[in-house]
Symmetry: C2
Amino acid sequence: MAEKMVVTPWETRGEIDYDKLIKEFGTEKLAEELVKKIEKKAGKSTHFLRRKIYFSHRGLKKILEDLDNGKDFVLYTGRGPSGETHLGHLLPYLFTKYLQDAFNAKLYYELTDDEKFFTKEKLSLKECTGFAYDNALDFIACGFKSENTRIIIDTKDIGLLYPIAAKVAEKTTFSTAKAVFGFSNETNIGWIFFPAIQASVAFIESELKGKRVNCLIPCGIEQDPYWRIARDVAEKLGYPKPGAIHGKFLPGLKQGGKMSASDPSSAIWVTDSEKEVDKKIGNAFTGGRATVEEQRRLGGNPEACNVHAYYFFLFEQDDEKLARLYDDCRKGKILCGECKKDLAKRVNAFLKEHMKRREEARKHLKEYLLK
Amino acid sequence: MAEKMVVTPWETRGEIDYDKLIKEFGTEKLAEELVKKIEKKAGKSTHFLRRKIYFSHRGLKKILEDLDNGKDFVLYTGRGPSGETHLGHLLPYLFTKYLQDAFNAKLYYELTDDEKFFTKEKLSLKECTGFAYDNALDFIACGFKSENTRIIIDTKDIGLLYPIAAKVAEKTTFSTAKAVFGFSNETNIGWIFFPAIQASVAFIESELKGKRVNCLIPCGIEQDPYWRIARDVAEKLGYPKPGAIHGKFLPGLKQGGKMSASDPSSAIWVTDSEKEVDKKIGNAFTGGRATVEEQRRLGGNPEACNVHAYYFFLFEQDDEKLARLYDDCRKGKILCGECKKDLAKRVNAFLKEHMKRREEARKHLKEYLLK
């Protein structure tokens, strides 16, 4: 029996039903009309939208309408720094880069070292802050430019965040936070306050500019509860409601679920060696049959295959080629071994380039940090 | 019937029974032995201790023993900046000054602008921060030297406070905060987090020095719940438990209760004009009789007299003279009118000097602020 679906900012497990998530979170399906508007602005299409990897939103329509009327927006994305970076973390960065290029938008990237300290029993605050600086390098390596990108590390930049967060917090009761995040009496008071910190970044630009500036947040749908809080209080505080565009999770290499920082072998980490990548992908859960003979005769099932998912999410962005791969699998023309080998090659090439850029990023980190 | 006693960090009303408070808060009566130790160190006595205006403590004995063994401590006091300063606010400053001189101790003075914003519905954060800078002048005017005194304004200095507060918060559940502070589901999440901020100041010196430094907190007993939280988590975080020495409340001019910022006429504000002082004291609640004739015959009741309380708390520090005043009142030798007139003269002289120092403080404020 499939495990019950659980999707919160702190935990994702079970078989994910994205249509159900749209209903549960109360968000909107990303309509074709909005996709076209974005792609037109970008001047190019992206597999992230064509394949509905970004599939849901909140308030995007209004932000794009405002843009038509000459009102710019800023982008805001982030990461909870509880460990090194894996491929699943890079997806939203890459989509955000596409949006930033499309709209020539300023971007805030938040590293929530405080959150990870509040929510992960085994991590010290120092460790979380350390991971934040480490994760920032992977973010920069995705090609963001320092001219229009600012990296926020919560404990370092709390001077800017706290006065805004205080205003959000003052308008948010425990009762509301409990309903939205499932807090209990045993939740620590840092964790309870934290949603105000995460919401505050959506209002930074309005605060700094002294006028209403829209904010669009590309993120996993599990982050949506924060934007519900942010949208609830925005108008009361004189800020525009932030919008969000929600992505799907890159599956882990094992059967089901999200890539998990708590099970390192379920994910490909940017620091994995070629050999480790080969081995992990070699051992990945696929939609293949028990024997070569069966595979040739009955074909594989790319729908249930993590290896195919990696092509789908990132490593084969050409739709025709992806369709061929899909068909070949279905018809038993290609075996899991070949398919895995090819993916491993692509992943290793990607990581080699990424790690080169990551080293380069070290020299420039300071240019991205808030003063 | 006397109003029920309520003493919390945010509200004080009813007739105060200090012995009962010691029991309710679970603190210790300030023993004569500790008073003597302090006065010996100071090289002089103070009416604040002789008259048991500071009457209770938590952990003071240990801090003084540590001092005997060569371990210094820092002092920490503060104010919630929800308005201008009245005489009731100056009492702890003056006692703290006595302690600072006695022990040649570094002092942290915290202005909790965030707290007042979280807890006072009508105040904006900007207003609270404005009051903080204003209150700081009255604090400096009490004679503190910038060499060993640091003023903390929460929203301004959150960069230093937050990482320490985060560690306190991570060890404090909603359940604990609820039990200690009486929070409910309708309490806002800023207020819920705030105890971690207030507790964090007790640990600053340990954090900055990278070693365990004791901290003694002179304050009203209503602040004690914060130190309970701070003491609860201290050892888990590698900090020594802070100690506190608790003062009584200067009564308001009206019958019963603390001086109240919400009823301006109940208090004498540092900015009151001579005429206002004369008028307020002229209208003060006393222990006098209905008529002059009765007063001469039966005598007054200084125990129930706010005017006498002002002499007791600050304006007659000579015990013999105070005793004479008390007796003269009891025996009907002095009438309320005379007594009030003399007090008003003393208060006005005090305020004149204070306001002069306050103006002077403006020029030096920066020297006291944290970098």
